[in-house]
């Protein structure tokens, strides 16, 4: 017997059919997420391309440093970067914390020079692409950045007149070939500079303004030579870049570069549900900006740290910023400084987004080494706790344990060697 259906039953059945179809349609994105081998959508492919090292813009000019791309300045900078005579105790060079063997950082929570710094040593690779240096952006160029630690009481612990004497004694020919005649230092004290040490600061105040200016000019030039070296410290392609480049070219990645299911799922989370790409965007996986992400106070809780709120005041007042007497830039070249946000709650405990390239090799993590493992970092972003001060930009993510593992697996594909100019043992014109 053939069953017969009343119109009401038919209407109900068709409604159920439409409902099921809509339900299945709604599940499509979820199914794609649960199938790691699902093809990348057009929007995802556009995003992946933007993250590949192949999309990195050429090294930007540094208008504030006319020696930035000078080969002789680079050689001198390479020597200075590794010279421990440029410190208060003769034992600390830039390379002490920025070790080339560790990707130009040190793997300890707080940098250790002649004393202990207040924050984690930042890596150098790729930072020539950033308008701001330091976790709080208190320098707006590589050369201004290099000068900060040199006169810090806890990092290099020296002063600019001491350094001018080191340069005059050991690098005079190299210096003069690049920057011109070395100033006369006769009659000046051995050590002086605008530093925390009161005796050296007082000695600095007693020097005439014109002679102070000539010493500061040598100091700025030192920074410019170090910057010429540092801007050539760069990232090399990772498995991620090779995977994306192959994917976009429509060819199979070489076997070692293909992504596992976890790595693909992690990448999909990175550009999707986990929102990582909001800040970790572009080919260096950083927006070069400052964010409060609710990171807890440093384990060394005695140090108050308000992040960008303090950093922006420092860079605006810096004697070595883009608009300064020692800069080679025209004011029109200094847009980042001229249009910087200088106040507001968003700056409180906001720190610069670090590149995620090689991030997994840089434990401990965050601006003062607060977290020991990358999994702990991911849990922080998942839970989105309130900030110790200011307001965190994070929202809770609701990641599963599997998703945390997948994100970690993806981050481990972002590792590669860092390229840098070969060490110089002696000056060769």
């Amino acid at each position: 017997m053939t069953p017969t259906h009343s119109p009401r039953v038919l209407r109900n059945l068709s409604a159920i059919g439409v409902g099921l179809a809509l339900g299945i349609l709604a599940l499509v994105p979820a199914l794609a997420r649960s199938n790691p081998q699902a093809p990348w959508t057009a929007a995802e492919r556009t995003m992946l391309k933007s993250l590949s090292l192949s999309s990195l813009a050429p090294l930007p000019a540094d208008h504030s440093n006319k020696y930035a791309d000078d080969a002789a300045a680079l050689r001198l900078g390479n020597l200075l970067f590794n010279d421990a005579r440029l410190s208060g105790n003769g034992q600390v060079s830039c390379a002490t914390c920025h070790s080339s063997e560790k990707g130009f950082q040190d793997n300890i929570p707080l940098g250790k020079g002649v004393g202990t710094a207040g924050r984690r040593t930042m890596p150098i690779a790729g930072t020539a692409h950033s308008p701001w240096q330091f976790w709080d952006g208190r320098a707006d160029s590589h050369w201004a950045q290099a000068l900060g630690p040199l006169e810090s009481a806890v990092e290099h612990g020296g002063d600019r007149l001491q350094y001018a004497r080191v340069l005059r004694q050991h690098y005079r020919a190299e210096y003069e070939a690049i920057f011109g005649a070395f100033p006369n230092l006769q009659g000046l004290p051995e050590r002086a500079g605008p530093v925390a040490d009161s005796a050296r600061a007082a000695a600095w105040a007693r020097i005439t303004p014109a002679r102070r200016d000539s010493i500061s000019r040598v100091y700025a030039n030192m920074g410019k030579a170090i910057a010429a070296f540092e801007r050539q410290i760069t990232f090399t392609p990772t498995r991620f870049d090779r995977y994306v480049d192959a994917e976009l070219a429509g060819r199979a990645p070489t076997p070692g570069d293909n992504f596992s299911d976890d790595e693909r799922a992690g990448l999909r989370l990175f550009i999707g549900k986990a929102n990582c790409v909001n800040c970790h965007n572009g080919a260096l996986l950083t927006d070069n900006h400052f964010h409060n992400t609710g990171v807890p106070q440093s384990q060394d809780g005695a140090r108050a740290d308000s992040g960008r709120a303090t950093g922006v005041r420092a860079v605006m007042a810096s004697e070595f910023n883009c608009l300064s007497h020692y800069s080679d830039a025209k004011p029109s070249d200094c847009g980042e400084l001229r249009f910087a946000v200088t106040d507001g709650e968003e700056l409180v405990r906001a720190y610069k987004t670090p590149s995620l390239r090689n991030a997994v090799t840089r434990a401990p993590f965050m601006h003062a080494g607060q977290f020991a493992s990358i999994e702990r970092v991911l849990l922080h972003y998942d839970r989105a706790p309130s900030a110790p001060a200011g307001h965190s930009e994070l929202k809770r993510l609701g990641l599963s344990g599997t998703e945390v593992r997948q994100l970690a697996a993806f981050l481990k594909t972002l590792v590669s060697s860092v390229a840098y100019p070969a060490p110089v043992t002696s000056y060769t014109p």
Partner: protein, 145 residues
Amino acid sequence: MRSLIRSTLAALTVATTATLMTGCMMFMKPPAASEFGRTRVGMAGVYRATITPAGDTIPQGVLQQWTLHLETVAGAPVDSATVTIDGGMPQHGHGLPTKPLVTTVLGNGDHLVEGMKFNMGGWWVVKFRIASAAGADTVIFNLKL
């Protein structure tokens, strides 16, 4: 004591309102595609503004210059206005990464805007607050990066 209670209650009210507002913003959806035009009329209906970024697309992560053309809704160019700029990402609850300014009045209603920058993809809002003899108004642009 009473004043302490009053000020505590006031502080709590402000904090709760701020939290709710931030929470609400997080769940805001971008407006319809028709709201993303490069020419917009102000909220008070005093001015019509047109933004012309240098280049066809608005790039991410670099400083850029725009031309802002201002006219009254009747079509008269406005050159003598005070213009301030702010904005941000309503869904993220943060502002612009820079403090853009009108740096030059180019004439015939055109103004050079410098210091514009967007550091992430998504829905952005840029607000031009305009005051002149014609009145005060705010023109809001929605952008998708």
